[in-house]
């Protein structure tokens, strides 16, 4: 029940005499309503994280790349280390 999924804001409208901001949010084509009360900064086109009918966060698109760049960095570092492992012993000692 703690499921929260990201969806794209298609449109925003106010309800209850303008006191409540509601959005139509598309989850891969399935459109549902969500309240934007917790994310006043959300705009049309943003991706928001929706939980039980309430958007709780705007996805940080730059940060979203980090999971993949982290892997690249780690992978590269690892390869360097692997090359190092193949170097002759004296060489390693010499560089230390």
């Amino acid at each position: 029940m703690c499921l929260a999924i990201p969806g794209k804001v298609l449109s925003i409208e106010s309800r209850y005499d303008g006191t409540v901001r509601m959005a139509r949010v598309s989850f891969g084509g399935i459109v549902k309503e969500a309240s934007l009360e917790m994310v006043p900064q959300a705009k049309v086109g943003d991706y928001v994280l929706v939980h039980v009918g309430v958007a709780i966060s705007v996805v940080d698109e730059e940060e979203a790349q980090r999971t993949f760049s982290y892997l690249r960095e780690m992978g590269e570092l690892d390869e360097l280390k692997e090359i190092n492992d193949f170097l002759p012993d004296e060489n390693q000692n010499a560089s230390q």
Binding site: M1, Y16, V52, V54, V59, R66, L71, D78
Partner: protein, 367 residues
Amino acid sequence: MKFLSEYRDPEVAAQYLKLIKKTVTRPWTIMEVCGGQTHSLVKNGILDMLPPEITMVHGPGCPVCVTPVELIDQAVWLAEEKGVILCSFGDMLRVPGSHKSLLEAKAQGADVRILYSPLEAVRLAQTHPDREVVFFAVGFETTAPANALSVVHAKRLGLKNYSILTSHVLVPPAIEAIMEDEQTRVNGFLAAGHVCTIMGTMEYYPLAERFRVPIVVTGFEPVDLLQGILMTVQQLEKGEARVEVQYSRMVREEGNPRAQELLFEVFEVTDRWWRGIELIPMSGFRLKEAYAPWDATRKFDMPPGEAKEEETCISGDIMKGIKKPHECPNFGTRCTPERPLGAPMVSSEGACAAYYHFSNLAKQLAQ
């Protein structure tokens, strides 16, 4: 789907797995706190892919599982004796109370409804002015703002026939209770990403320091979980105990200030009983005095609970990470998702149900 499918990419997952295997040199026990993460770890077969040095144990982060039996009895009582429209999330309906579940009450004619959002319950109250509508508001910090919002909406709309029965629990006091237990074997935590989306990461610094445990705020997709486990193992291997955020696309250090503002407008922190565990001081929310008209426990004269529990259920030990579901003698025999003896067998986010479904699936695949 954007921001979802890429975190399910088997190749990326395989690379993280490779890095975990390279990094780990000693046995470590890591607890994921959130039931959604337990479900994802089991469903995606991650538990079987991890190197044998890593033991994952499954924390108390399934709100359905830790809601006290008295509250379920009270919800049944409201639906049956008071004739209210009792609404809740689907999982809540099958949890056994001391006499019956909400689903059984529904089958016997009570007006019990499954809703996706508490805001729908407010709408029900609007369209049924002659009926009392009660929303059974369970959940962790993630769900609390939505429940608070429903009360605020009801107040704005001047609705007097809407109230909530709250069973809100908080993650940091649970981590504290787990680490204070002498039997604990937890070396590191994956903290629940969505909880931190609301509350931020500040509350976790003192915990990491006091108990010398790494706490990595992690998401829910396979790649998220594997990265979270890798970050935890890296810290453990280096002897570090820091708070780190894997789920940075959704979590900021300060959390969601607007949501927090709303939470503390409506709720105040209180002691809470956790089903299967114990009373944990200052571990939940209740409605503030100013919102008493929307508090079901103040509005209705609730009967005292009896709290009849199945004595042989070891859910407390499971949720503290001391035991695994298949170590329970009832697992898969007397206790199944169709006929659950304890709450962790009910919700798909409960550890017992997750293990049960998964071992069945494994059996089917082997045939």
